[in-house]
Amino acid sequence: MNAAIQIAVDAMSLGGLYALTALGIGLIFSVMRLANFAHAELVTCAAYALFALSGQPLVMAFSGAIVVAVALAVVTERIAFRPLRRADPTTMMIASFTVSMLIQKLLVFTLGSRPKSLDPVPMLSQAVSIGPTQVSLLKLVTIAVCAVLLLALTLFLKRTSFGLQMRAAAENFTMAQLTGVRANAVIVVAFALSGGLAAVVALLFAAQSGFVQPRLGVPLMITAFVATVIGGMGSLPGAVIGGLLVGVVTTLLQAYLPPDLRPFREAFLFALVILALLVRPNGLFPARGLKERI
């Protein structure tokens, strides 16, 4: 029973982080058909902002992280991706790799490559009891934050006029423009939201890992990207479910693989991903109108 609760908490907190990251990637892909690999650096830079503001009240540090991630997302859209909107998707993907590498190298050049210890929310490092089981408060908070954010984003997309415009743009961008939806506004808001999500992920992930380094966001981004593919590229519910699924499977593999095989956990995970894509090549929830772009 203890182990089951522990595994469930681990799975949901890891899955929540993947879901938020996948959602950030999915938001951009849905409106631009851009697989933005520079999303990793939004997480990393937000974590460095938390590091720079450590010692300040949490609200101030977290606000700083949000400002940094949102500004970086919007600036990269304006400088790197907007001029390429009509380009081939491969060109845009390579551009996102370029932006990602550029920011990584700039971080190494200016701040060094050595990890820096970081504990942005020390009060969450304690354990709490669920019946007889001790679980990490940080992981419970991670689950709660992920749930609240997913709910808030769902309400934004479902209940607001701008959310409706974003969903229409995700389905058929050209038709959305023909109804008067402003292309630039929708894309900038999608990037800003993706930056905001990256800042939250940075806070939770840095609190769990306890350090920050220039490639902090890369493994998270790669796994979350896989999650968006499993969920169905361009589908936001798909990104969330894909993220949760990958988190659950990763945790189960960690718990139940023989100890000798645990270092190869990712290999098993990606083998399962390949199997899943063989059965459903477009993911679990294929998005509509994937051919439509700006």
Binding site: S161, L164, N172, G180, V181
Partner: protein
């Protein structure tokens, strides 16, 4: 009547292929104007160009006297031009109601929009019955009604319809054209593109015959219906036989 839309010497090319060559036409306020022609004549390209989907290589498009060629799509909508493209293009994953709300994206008079949406629901009871259903589940005719209503909700001065009868049963086509007539009665100018020349000629005040990217014939629809050179212009026989 004043010219709402005036096009002069419009040319569009897709690579080496010339889709429109020196097209000039005029649409006056309150008219229904039809552009007819066979498949590949350049009709849809013409509407796409007016809407801002395609950038012309040459020529001028004036709407209410302002040059609009090459403007972003959303700005064209805000100027008062709505395009209902061929193939209906509902947002299949959004509900009927959400599709209609999207039509009013550029408007701020929410109460008026809500009452207009109710009016369209009254006009098309099937839309009311299916208001919370995904638009992709509607039939072809219902989807056509939905996209026309969606286009009208932007409160356009000019409604452009690309092949509104394509793929519809004759009875449904008649309903669509009844709607077009009622749209005009409300003061909206209509520019429609049709392969079904006979149906278009019956409803339009004036008609342009487009073939191989150029206007071959134009005039009052009533006059064109009886003219012997109409079929020649429509099928391009004038080009083959050198009669034009």
């Amino acid at each position: 009547m004043t010219a709402l839309l005036a096009i002069e010497g419009l040319a569009v090319s897709y690579g080496r292929i010339s889709a429109l060559r020196g097209v000039s036409l005029q649409v006056d306020s309150g008219e229904i104007v039809a552009i007819v022609g066979p498949n590949g004549a350049g009709k849809s390209t013409l509407l796409s160009c007016i809407a801002g989907l395609v950038r012309p290589a040459a020529g001028v498009i004036r709407f209410r006297g302002d040059a609009i060629a090459g403007q972003p799509l959303e700005r064209t909508v805000r100027r008062g031009i709505a395009l209902v493209p061929e193939g209906r293009h509902v947002f299949a994953g959004l509900t009927v109601l959400e599709n209609l709300r999207l039509g009013a994206t550029i408007r701020t008079d929410r109460a008026r929009v809500a009452s207009e949406i109710d009016a369209y629901m009254d006009l098309f009871p099937i839309l009311a019955d299916r208001r919370h259903a995904p638009a992709g589940t509607l039939s072809g005719g219902e989807q056509q009604m939905l996209v026309i209503a969606r286009g009208l909700l932007s409160n356009p001065a000019l409604l452009m319809l690309d092949e509104p009868s394509l793929g519809l049963a004759p009875r449904i086509t008649d309903q669509v054209y009844d709607l077009i007539e009622s749209v005009r009665a409300r003061g909206v100018t209509v520019l429609l593109v049709e392969q079904n020349a006979d149906r278009a000629l019956r409803s339009a005040d004036r008609t342009y015959v487009l073939n191989t990217g150029a206007v071959r014939l134009s005039g009052a629809s009533g006059d064109l219906r009886g003219r012997p050179d109409f079929e020649a212009a429509y099928f391009g026989l004038d080009l083959v036989g050198g009669q034009a």
